[in-house]
């Protein structure tokens, strides 16, 4: 995207993309500097011109992931349009859609044992991601009587946890048991029941 026509064109971004591919295909540990360089068509020493080391390359991939994540979430939330409830549900769906469409980013962000403080840009982007979710939760819970309203940050954490759990347990390759239901349905119904528990959906509406 940036400068074109130097030696490689845009090596840093090519390396990030190689990283994403490798990480999505072989897990966070199936990635190596040497392999990323090879995939970018460059010698094993070249990446060190742009990244201090392996960790910094993964951190950049994760950072870009958070940027995209934030954008997607904001687009889905759409400032609470058409109404806070619909906007909130769309945001939840966007979480799962992001995990599906950007597996490399997702793994770099959530499964690579990376410290959020690996780089300032990363912790900044991660902070903004949490802020979007909290904002969506706050907009929705403003409809509740103040006395029966959990803190927006807690509300957001609950929904984030449910979304993350569904992705990890039922939408990816690993764990305990194969999905008994499609992840999308699981998340939709789970959040629906949760919101009903808060009084944000009338008790007798369909799930």
């Amino acid at each position: 995207m940036a400068k074109q026509g130097y030696h490689h064109g845009n090596l840093p971004q090519a390396l990030v993309e190689a990283t994403l591919t490798l990480i999505a295909e072989c897990g966070p540990q199936g990635f190596s500097m040497a392999e990323a360089a090879k995939q970018a068509g460059v010698s094993p020493a070249a990446p060190y011109r742009h990244f201090a080391g392996r960790e910094m390359l993964i951190a950049e991939a994760a950072r870009q992931g958070y940027e995209i994540f934030v954008t997607r979430m904001e687009t889905a939330f759409d400032e609470g349009r058409p109404n806070p409830l619909a906007a909130f549900l769309a945001t939840g769906r966007a979480y799962l859609a992001f995990a599906r469409s950007n597996p490399g980013h997702y793994v770099a962000m959530f499964e690579s044992n990376l410290s959020v403080n690996a780089s300032p840009g990363l912790s900044d982007a991660a902070g903004r991601a949490q802020a979007v979710l909290t904002r969506a939760a706050a907009a929705l819970s403003a409809h509740l009587p103040p006395g029966r309203r959990p803190p927006a940050a807690m509300f957001a954490a609950h929904v984030w946890a449910m979304s993350h759990g569904v992705v990890e347990l039922f939408a990816r390759g690993t764990p305990g048991a194969r999905a008994p239901f499609p992840p999308e349905e699981l998340l939709e119904t789970g959040i629906g029941i949760y919101l009903r528990g808060l009084g944000l959906i009338p008790p007798d509406s369909a799930p």
Copy 2:
């Protein structure tokens, strides 16, 4: 626990325990056969007398984890005593307590990219783990009018997802933002709100 007084005493179990320590301390990839052997006080070739390879050693650690997990869950559920609701909440708490007290097992089970089919014993134990959760959910949802009752497997999946998400996002070392609330509180309130949404807790009871 088994035979004592042979060359080593009980190498297989010593290796599993070394694996758990390494995995808990340095993540699933901070573990190596060589290091596990060293920690068990044995040459690097010795483990191959008991495990076909690296993967099988991790699989055995995970299998034992599922066994313990099942036991803990069953103890917490206690056949639905004193009542299904209390028993269910205790089961949720047990999930988090297990992740906390057995980090090595937890990582081997859920974060090691291990296939459940790595060994028959593993997939068996994993299946029983899911069965306990589903049984607890079924006992509780029997109190609902059949028409307003989600399938027990879905109910169980929701709660498992929420528990898993809370552990991954807020009770372990990695991700997006530091816990805004203690994980225990987050899980307790999250499940509480969810159960209220199902009509299993009266709408006006305290959270």
